[in-house]
Symmetry: C2
Subunit: 450 residues, 2 copies
């Protein structure tokens, strides 16, 4: 560590175990290992120096942004060095003409969006954590969000990257242009690789025109989850192009109501929140409300002001915090073809009932992306066996329905034991082969993602 | 070859040199090498058998779709076996509810689009060759097209792949869902890899809601290319969201007029063709026409019927055939940040003037993707030196403007000698490392793409 401290500018390296410990967790229940230290990088050169040192001394490196991950990719392991990027917060360039921005990895996602809005643009990807998560973390996990039903996930907004490899070499991938096919798509390979192939020190991202008018929102209550899922299918089939289409189950609504007293009706089993940001958002929202009514909604409310619209979406954004009040959370992230949404939700309910686990579910319903949150007792090192048994059932149901283990959170440490069920041995071989090309000493976030 | 003929069903293998020769060219001027034979695959099993044989005997394999490529990726090399996929034409599944299709690689792109339209859906990617090119070829090159200014390129519509590796192992990448982050993004890695990493035998692609109303189109004529480029910038900045935004230069218009007598005015130096497929396409088109007027258009015509709209786009679709009447074509494909479009076009004109080369240019202007076509004498084995000198200048100008060598055609054989200018040595190392993981014997399309 002395070499590393000497090689970096003053103040970059932390070795006090208590302070280091604050950089070792993400937002999962996972208990981190003991890191040997943490580097708070402020520049590409800091990252290069750190990785050269790690290569020389064969020290595993766990990169991290803000630590808001939900799968354990940023969880420290014993003997690792934490490489924190949250101090690299420069928006280096923002070009309204080219509709691109060049950013450092520590930029808070919502800050980039706000900077773009000044020019009539937006940065579309908006994971629920977008006010506290970083672009670098979003890139590492290929984060999704609420708006991705219309605008795509983080990878869809990423044009090019500057990356430091395990041995300290720097490369640039991709481009500043809207299109480009020179060589293999290394940009897409790094996005979602959870810090196992390289450390991203700069990203060129695509911005989009922000909608001219504020969005409008409809909230609809249903007596059954299946009715709500049918309304989702009807909204998509009608071509309404929602900019958000969120489903909240009874358990989650109850948790929110217990906390914030939103006036939940006894018969409500599900709420759908749909937003349009189109030029005719009022018409689109009215149309979505009608489709909810036709599919059995017991109550619909359409926003008549931007503030009301924000309040309706605000109910959805309370979900995670409301659940954390109930206990420790195992947050899952299965994604199924849209037509399988009702079956997936039934499977989640059945798994909860069978194993006696409280599961609170929200879904990015337009994408078929379902987040069942398994609640268990605070203070346990691991979720109890019956929680894992219920989660295992949910994973297997998702795969049987043609779905995937993780729509937007990543594999991290939490889902590695199920990976083979989805990916198969040939894919596993290729994963290992690619990993060895980029990181032959296996020092970048070992034990994660693949 | 006897072993291969015996291992495959009857009629799959061609060895007659004249017939084999018909499967050895793409749409470039490049002279193919002498192939030892061609397999016309009809199933995944045919591909597996072929690649196992090729691995055993160390025979290079050149995969091909319809041979409409513009960079030489499908050009046969001496001693290779051609593996043609154009007989695998099944649309295996088309799910309106999930908005996906599962297709074999030989499906003609426009056929898939038409099959989707029956259900109110569309397959968005539409390379100019979409009536004759295959999905497999589009995947191999990550083809773009006219509509990608609004809907993205082939990779943006690709969810998952079935691929046969060089050694005959079969893998499935990706998913059937809208989102998914399980493991590295192998799907994006195969898309655009020009047959060097594996042979795609099935693709799961994303469909989109087709616009409810027929599109409307505006054509505008300008006295200078810079004025036309300024109109492009104004249309994008105003948030008009064109579904096509195509620029045609004087030389191309002249070639079209000489052939089809479209009534070209003497002072016209450029034409812009912009289409809207939005619900308010008439309003959007009128707005784009006004922006053209404000930026110096000498004449604008707005379609008032779907047929007129198709006729205006038809002018653009004549461009390639009109140019082929002038001589042999070196078709280039640089892409620059949108704001650099006027400078890029000036650089093309300057290169043509300096080296005495006739260059006909069209551009997917909304993407900054410029296709300068260098015309030279029919019958030459290679473009003459002064044509390469002009092309070299164009490539270097694109890179200097922050652009890329190829927006949508791929590197193939044509652009390999410029690759290092854009990608650099670290990227080249990683390309070779990845190639070795997927194809350790280097039998898949050697000498192409990387």
């Amino acid at each position: 560590m002395k070499d590393l401290i000497a090689a970096l500018p003053p103040g970059r390296v932390i070795v006090d175990p208590d302070v280091v410990g604050t950089y070792t967790r993400d937002r999962t229940y996972l208990q981190p290992g003991q890191a040997v230290g943490a580097v708070l990088a402020e520049s590409r050169e800091d990252v290069v120096t750190t990785l050269r040192w790690a290569t020389e001394h064969r020290v595993p490196v766990v990169p991290r942004g803000a630590g808001t991950g939900l799968a354990g990719a940023a969880t420290a392991t014993d003997g690792c060095l934490v490489l924190a990027l949250h101090r690299m917060t420069a928006i280096t360039e923002l070009s309204p003409d080219d509709e691109i921005a060049v950013v450092q990895p520590g930029v808070i996602t919502a800050d980039l969006d706000r900077a773009a809005r000044v020019h009539g643009l937006m940065y579309a990807p908006d994971p629920s954590s977008y006010e506290i998560s970083t672009i670098g973390g979003n890139l590492a996990t290929n984060a999704g969000g609420l708006r991705c039903v219309k605008y795509g996930v983080t990878r869809d907004s990423t044009l090019g990257l500057e990356v430091v490899l395990a041995d300290g070499r720097v490369l640039n991938t991709g481009r500043r242009t809207m299109k480009g096919v020179t060589g293999y798509d290394l940009t897409s390979l790094f996005v979602g690789s959870e810090g196992t192939l390289g450390v991203i020190t700069e990203a060129t991202v695509r911005l989009r025109r922000a909608p001219a008018e504020p969005p409008a929102t409809v909230a609809a209550e249903f007596g059954s989850l299946r009715d709500a899922a049918a309304a989702v299918a009807a909204i998509i089939a009608a071509g309404c192009q929602p900019a958000m289409l969120e489903l909240i189950d009874r358990n989650t609504l109850q948790a929110i109501d217990d906390w914030k007293h939103i006036g939940l009706e006894p018969g409500t089993r599900a709420m759908l929140i749909a937003q349009s940001d189109a030029a005719d958002s009022a018409t689109a929202t009215a149309r979505m409300a009608k489709l909810c009514d036709e599919n059995g909604a017991s109550f619909t409310a359409v926003s008549s002001t931007p503030q009301e619209s924000a309040e309706l979406v605000g109910i959805r954004r309370l979900a995670y915090d409301a659940k954390e009040r109930l206990g420790a959370c195992l947050v899952e992230d299965v994604c199924v073809p849209r037509s399988a949404l009702p079956d997936m939700i039934s499977a989640v309910e059945a798994a909860g009932d069978r194993h006696g686990v409280l599961i609170c579910t929200v879904a990015h319903a337009g994408d078929g992306n379902v987040h069942p949150v398994f609640i268990f007792e605070h203070g346990l090192a691991e979720p109890p066996e019956h929680v894992w048994a219920a989660a295992d059932e949910v994973f297997r149901a998702a795969l049987a329905l043609g779905g995937t283990l993780t729509g937007e959170h990543g594999v991290g440490m939490l889902k590695r034991r199920w990976l083979a069920l989805e990916a198969g041995p040939v894919v596993a071989d290729l994963h290992q082969g690619i990993k060895a090309v980029f990181d032959p000493l296996n020092i970048l976030n070992p034990g994660k993602a693949i």
